[in-house]
Amino acid sequence: MHMSTDGRKAAGWDTIHRSYRARMERAGRLASGKVVAADDAVSLLESVLEPGDRLCIEGNNQKHADFLAASLARVSSDRVHGLHIVQSNLALPAHLDVFERGIADRLDFCYSGPQGLRLARLVAEGRVRVGAIHTYLELYSRYFSDLTPRVSFIAADAADAAGNLYTGENTEDTPAIVEATAFKSGILIAQVNRIVDELPRVDVPGDWVSFVVEAPKPYYIEPIFTRDPAAITDVQILMAMMVIRGLYQKYGVTRLNHGIGFDTAAIELILPTYAADLGLQGEICRYMSVNPCPTLIPAIESGFVEGIHCAGSELGMERYVAERSDVFFIGRDGTMRSNRIFCQLAGHYADLFIGSTLQVDLEGNSSTATLNRITGFGGAPNFGSESRGRRHGSKSWLQAGEEANRGRRMPRGRKLVVQIVETFREGLEPTFVERLDAWDLQQSFDLPLPPVMAYGDDITHIVTEEGIANLLLCDDLLEREQAIRGVAGYTPVGLGRDRAVVERLRKKGAVAYPDDLGVDKRLANRDLLAARSIKDLVHWSGGLYRPPARFRNW
């Protein structure tokens, strides 16, 4: 809100703070100390919210302030309307109910996942005006710039009477939201699973917290990073073998970030077998920035992965993580401390990112956008991009930089940004396309840019079951296109390759097939997996990993 100098003189320099005090006063009658009864949650929100407020509802990959989100959907839209929601993850129906009811009408967000279809409909109906779709780091950055919340709902495991909060394993995004809200005269309402006399540890100091509500049910949490090794295919194992030989071994990658699909789970599960046989223990994959994915257990237990910092936790991994404090970041209370921003930063400045995607075009741009849905980005683009601000060297960074250097005088390193995809997805949909669906999505939802997950000039390698395209070694866009075609298999893009050019690229290493990499296709079967089932993972963990019921096949 812009204010003229005269206006400012009249209003004073603490209008936001005075508004804060007025709101606190209105809500004070509902609170006993800082604690507000769950039954009074709707009244509380009606007291502290004003029309047009910017509101953050904590919604991460794992935990959600679901009770407060549901309460918001029940406030009187006469009293509360026109809110501007600034929220990272839209996952629950209640998140969109507030737009249906007119309680909110503007939205800045990062990721909408399962609500993508409904969000698209609400945008088309004009009930949601989208400011922008961000990555996590961008949205949190804007909390400290032009999108600071007036009110934030956060979720924590436990609180004490003074409002101190314990966030347990899933601290995730809480610190960013808390910091931006509490220090700009915002109101911070915490939904907690329980109120206790003494907290195991203090993650958020009580004097930053305005109100605490004990929710009737523990906050909703989903095991989204659990990949059952039973579903890993031979083709994924083949690609994992190529990654280990053609990337991790070749460049000596020690610090990295893995996506969360089955492709990367396959890599994790052949570290203790295939990579160990190649003598790579201690040479590759030593530090990771990921959630505690259960498929990492064998690599940790066999001494491959030495250190992991996590953006959030994963259901069932709590005890295992707690018992491996040499590897994970653990509080004095003995449970893990996660923090998305720091994890994102560590991943951004790592030597390598590898993850999958849905579509790749001839320049190597990749997108997970599907028509009729607005799903957003999450954190992948920050992991999956060149870190141009990086200055420190490492074997991998320098070697990749050498490959990228086209006769420039000034040497420079290069982060490896790798996309791992099968040439066809389910239903024989080609992954490689001339034109990304993202262009259509831009049209239909009037976005400023096509929603690209990773830009082609950030990507260094594309791995498919056919081979690896090394885009660093391509001299121009034409070579880049042929290198991509050269690993695009039997998709129309792959069939359109110029065989002579691809052969030339192969000679200089810009295209490499399994034979070139010393990968024996006959080994590409599930016998290579260090764990073939969730039960195997439990065994590896010495019984410390306790998988959720739906993953227990015994």
Partner: protein
Amino acid sequence: MRPVRRSYDEATARGRIDGLLDAGTFREFCGPTARRSSPHLPALGLPVSFDDGVVVGEGRLDGRPVLIGSQEGGFMGGSVGEVHGAKLTGLLERGLDVEPAAVVLLLDSGGVRLQEANAGLIAMGEIQRAVFRVRAAGVPVIAAIGGRNGCYGGMSIVARSCDWIVVSEQGRLSISGPEVIEAVEGIEEFDAQDRALVWRTMGGKHRRLLGEVDALVENSIEAFRMAVIGWLEQPRPLDLAAVEAEHARLEARLRRFAECRDGLDVWRDLGVERPEEIPELDADAFNAVVASMEERDR
């Protein structure tokens, strides 16, 4: 913990035979080049398999001649159709002619193949009768159960008609699948999504504790091989006295566990000290529990 073992549960039908028999001794009957695939599936627009999902033949195990059949769980759930069933029946009947040290059946089947339901059902009866005939001739029939399908439907009856059964922890042995029970009788009767309940009701460990199977081994082909070798040339009696003893045992079971509603109840009643820990035990630890109970009951 470097996994050197070859997973039995994950291996294909051929892989299981290769790993189980003495190396290089297997000779297949009516193999894929004979192309005896299902005559019924093409009419339904479904793909066939050259061996109709079962591998049968002869070879040596620990130097002794055996006949062996192995169901491919990956093809139509290891289900039994006309050709699949006839191959197993013919294999068992060959046991009458060549009197091997055992007929070994590696089972991995959801039961009758519904796409050729009648033919599959009658084939089950034929397999079972052939089991009884070859047993009556003094040749032991050994069933091994592991793999993704477990052993369900008519095949579960066939399995319990054999002399010996070895199962992996992952193996399940039951006539009706949990999904069928839930679909017909409701989720109150059986919550098929509750996988731990499925294993407590039908899984290898429960079957071993109940006395429905003779051995539980870890999920490795070598462990199955050792179990089967132990039963070569060891037929179990099938006379009136033996069948009456079995009858008394089963009647006592139904009386004793009449009020049980869960595997945990049964195990507690059997005197297992910490029944809730049973599902977490590996094969060795579990077998130690079984051995101590058997010791106590002696």
